[in-house]
Symmetry: C3
């Protein structure tokens, strides 16, 4: 792990990169959007073992292995169809180590390198030969109190960590954490896709759960809205500052209350018509924006993933198994209704993410460079990478500047990778800015302001942390 | 303002960049497509004050401020709905200076830095603290004869400046300039969107004006064409060498005279049908190409902007207020009809611009690298920027070479920024070529030819200047 | 021809680039997909003259000249409409040399520079003045036995060269080569577009030829499939390891045998309906994947070219004359059916190419980074260029790594340019990797493995050579 890693080779640039990086490297971590479970902090139990911590739950890891012909059953991924999967964590780890070269140059590889070194103190590069030694070394760590989830939270200097929770989540773990007296700030984020997307599997069951949790008989559109408002308030009471919406596309369009109710009734009766789900989602985004202005929760949009593309994998292993695939996006026309109604409102914040890099310069930067309510999320998912970040800056900064973005935030299930992700982004951003300084495009004063903004200030402010 | 600005940090590259830049930096400026008004040269009066010159008319400036929550009323943008707007230019300037950091690294910021320094002799970086000093210094300049529009024209070494004018524009200011004896070459460009786009607001009024100005009773398609031909001749008599077409998309398709007439008649009677406007525009592009071959005017296509995306801004402030947003474009299929009919004709020149960078390598470069009539316009609008230019070269040069582009031309309303824009592009292009030389991809002889082509030769030749 | 050509200017990077390049520069050439004719090896006759070898058959060359107004008739391109074309090879060569500056910085220019120098020993840069000297020098070479096709094959160190052949090709030249005792490995690739695309000109004639060559009366869908299977076996017996499919788009969808037969019957009777061709192609891709699993031929997909865009050129000169234009592509939805049915199968390999660079990071890398059957082809056609390769790596490596690509393969009709193409790609790839090493993103061990993979190992393995 070279101290100059990820910086430009040019010595003049590297000097500036280092100077900027030194300014921001020790900032606390803000993680206002992620998928670590609150349960691990509620329970604060030791992590089971290296394979169960690092490989089995991380679809970034096993999708790459699968792409090269290594069965997910060999990697211990749990099945839902009853087929037996590998239980021996050492076998899983050995297989992983044998193929660790596949991750060279990938974000996962870089995060793991950092994690092995900085979190677990492993000095050697992981290979098939040293696999068991590395396993043992990590195992020893995991059994120590210093590696309990809450202790790591403090060691990682996490200031805020947000989980992501369905509309009908009771947030019991967040309540346990709150009551425990532990001061780590773990907050929820309200993500109601399971009830706003009429096409979701078991939609009716989700509605029932929502009824139950809110003590509201959700039997029409009006009561549905009441239940959602109630849950948003509940989330807010446990620290939530934002909502999130994982939609197929960014289409927004308001329906009349009557139209919305008709669609909702049809869905309740299992008589949905062609186009109902798309129109309902488009309307609910409008409604969520309306609620955001009222309750102050920041609204996030994560559109454009074709979920569970591989039917066989979905049937055997379930959702979130590395088979979600991006599709082309459109924002200028699709966000027209929402931005026209709410985009000029000073109390509204809409953070837009994309998996379609061609929209950065064509649509997102021009829109965010005009509408006061809109901000651009960081390079997301596959694009949470060195090249992904550089491209994001190249395509957005000149039109929208960094100040219409939210800086870096991670989006991960892999808890011990969080410091690695923030360190990488701070390095890449500082080097990007250093190149601008070296080319006399910005001066050092502006570079420093931007470096701080990207590392901390922007997410602090935009997410109201 | 460092002499090495915008060049690569590598000393070996920088040496070549400097050598190439020294070859082209003093070339006269060709500006065959812009939005400066001829009126300022006809009247040749002093510019009112710094805010009215630099901020109020420039939507690049106030859109960025608006995106960060600064009301356009505070920036003095004139309203059309009667709401009162800031009149105190010093207050406007102070607000602008307070937020000048928002422009760091943006093209607007770089142009303004150059303009402050080179045009107005300001040595300091603009801040909230020195705002009034800078204001005063510029004000002193503006009151001197050296800062009259015509004097600046010569000081800027502008060889040709083209304005952009609607189909029914009488071009009185151009006539005044011509008759004044002043030798500055200010020419019009024929942009008939107001009459070829049937959906435009007050289309009938534009047709009436066209009738009047051409002394032609435009009552059917035939007389419409006659009037257009007459106006093209009028434009040509005042120096025009080109036309321009700001269309929603690049769709081209010929109609029969009967079909065109039916659509035109329906429009005259206010009985337009679904699809009429799109089909008529597609046909008129064919017709404009036909006329171009006959009268020799070069045809420009500027497609793909969703105009007036923000309804509130449009209603309060009118058009061209920073709320025009790019949409995805398609050229291969859409230009098929036009290129098949006219693209092989030696007397035809079609210059295509885009706001969708994904079309550069996929569509524009292959098309321009084959059809003799087609040329690619420079990176336009949001993409008239350092990264925008580099990307344009990266995506186009290998397939179409620089010789199928038109080199750099600006596209601005901000008169005193013109030298800054050309200087920036010359620097960026020379540095791009220097990198190719340093990597032994081209030799110095080719680099010099290309540098001259991009800075001057290509626009001179393509626009028939 | 500088030894450091195409490497980064930074001395530290250049040192690593050189080290990596030295590892791979002498590897044999694998060319498993190209358009050189087997006939030249069957006959092994001297090439006629420089113009007939280098200009007349290469649409990369004459399309660029045509784009700048030089008629293809002047370049000696053969016509099919009876109009006479230039026959004097010296005149053609002179014209070409006069405009050779148009190729500066283009891949064609770089390949030609390499070819002139390394294959023909020309030291000077080609210009209008030395045109005839260069012509003479090449002519002298061509008359020597060292320049016979088979001798060059060995001198070029080609390990395998694949031609591309229609479904009904008897492969007589491949048989002649086999029987000749010459050990050069020239193999065919099965490309059945002429019979799977119902819209192709003279489709019925192609079906007749297929009937004849397979001694199968192709009168319905069943016999069509039988004939194809028979021809695949024939291709395989002459060394084929792959098939190729040049489709309009990547749409895949299975039909029932009855549906497929109905469409096929309509086509036989000349009564095709709207949508028949698209549905039949989508189905045949499924069928081809099925056959691939059975016979082991690797399946290649080359979608997204709008063929013969210029009707005038098509009518006068025929197909493949530089007027094929890319269109936007979609893979996530279009490949869903095919990847779901076959993408998890260990015996299946699908190599996907694209002319739409916006799909690299959004669709191809995520898909290939999951499905074990899928690999990404190299940057193709217009993108077989320095910038094209760099962009390909930037957009794909982080998500799919090099190991889900097939490394470099050329795709050319220009036989003597083959070594130039492989040398260029090896240089660009090594420099790309060197930059990663210099930035401490990968270490030297990984860089070496990747360099070998991209230059040789991946195509060897993926194409089963």
């Amino acid at each position: 792990m070279n101290e100059m890693r990820f910086f430009s080779p040019d010595p003049a640039v590297r000097k500036i990169s280092t100077e900027l990086y030194n300014l921001v490297k020790d900032y606390p971590i803000l993680s206002p959007h992620g998928h670590v479970e609150a349960q691990i902090f509620a329970e604060n139990k030791p992590f089971p073992d290296p394979a169960q911590l690092i490989i089995v739950p991380d679809h970034y890891v096993f999708r790459m292995l699968y792409s090269q012909g290594i069965d997910m059953l060999e990697m211990g991924v749990p099945t839902i169809d009853g087929v037996s999967t590998e239980k021996d964590s050492r076998k899983i780890w050995q297989k992983f180590a044998d193929h660790f070269y596949l991750f060279a140059g990938t974000p996962t590889g870089l995060w793991l390198d950092h994690e092995f070194r900085e979190v677990f103190g492993i000095e050697e590069k992981l290979t098939g030969s040293n696999a068991m030694n590395v396993y043992d070394a990590i195992q020893v760590c995991l059994e120590q109190p210093a590696y309990l989830p809450r202790t790591l939270f403090e060691q990682f200097k996490i200031e805020v960590l947000s989980t992501t929770n369905g509309a009908s989540d009771p947030l019991s773990d967040h309540q346990i954490i709150k009551q425990s007296g532990w001061t780590g700030r773990v907050i929820p984020c309200f993500r109601p896709d399971d009830v706003t997307n009429l096409n979701i599997k078991n939609w009716l069951a989700h509605i029932s759960r929502l009824s139950e949790i809110t003590s509201t008989n959700v039997h029409n559109y009006k009561t549905f809205i009441q239940a959602l408002e109630k849950q948003r308030a509940h989330f807010k009471s446990l620290g939530a500052t934002s909502t999130d919406h994982g939609v197929n596309n960014a289409y927004t369009k308001e329906l009349s209350v009557e139209q919305a109710d008709q669609i909702f009734q049809r869905a309740l009766q299992g008589k949905g018509e062609q186009g109902d789900a798309e129109r309902f989602t488009a309307h609910m985004l409008m409604e969520m924006a309306r609620m955001s202005i009222e309750d102050g929760l920041v609204m996030q949009l994560h559109p454009g993933s074709f979920r569970n593309h591989n039917q066989m994998v979905f049937e055997r292993f379930g959702a979130d198994k590395g088979a979600d695939m991006p599709v082309r996006m459109e924002f200028t026309r699709n966000l027209h209704a929402l931005l026209n109604k709410f985009g000029n409102h000073p109390a509204f914040t809409l953070i837009v993410f994309t998996l379609d890099e061609s929209t950065y310069s064509r649509e997102l930067a021009p829109l965010a460079g005009h509408y006061p309510a809109m901000r651009i999320g960081p390079s997301w998912w596959f694009f949470d990478s060195i090249q992904g970040m550089i491209y994001h800056r190249q395509k957005i900064l000149e039109t929208a500047n960094v100040y219409n973005t939210v800086g870096f935030i991670d989006d991960t299930r892999a808890y011990p990778s969080i410091p690695a992700r923030h360190d990488l982004s701070r390095r890449v951003d500082c080097d990007y800015l250093a190149n601008l300084v070296a080319r006399h495009i910005i001066d050092m004063e502006d570079a420093e302001r931007m470096a701080r903004a990207l590392a901390y200030d922007l997410s602090k402010k935009t997410y109201k942390l």
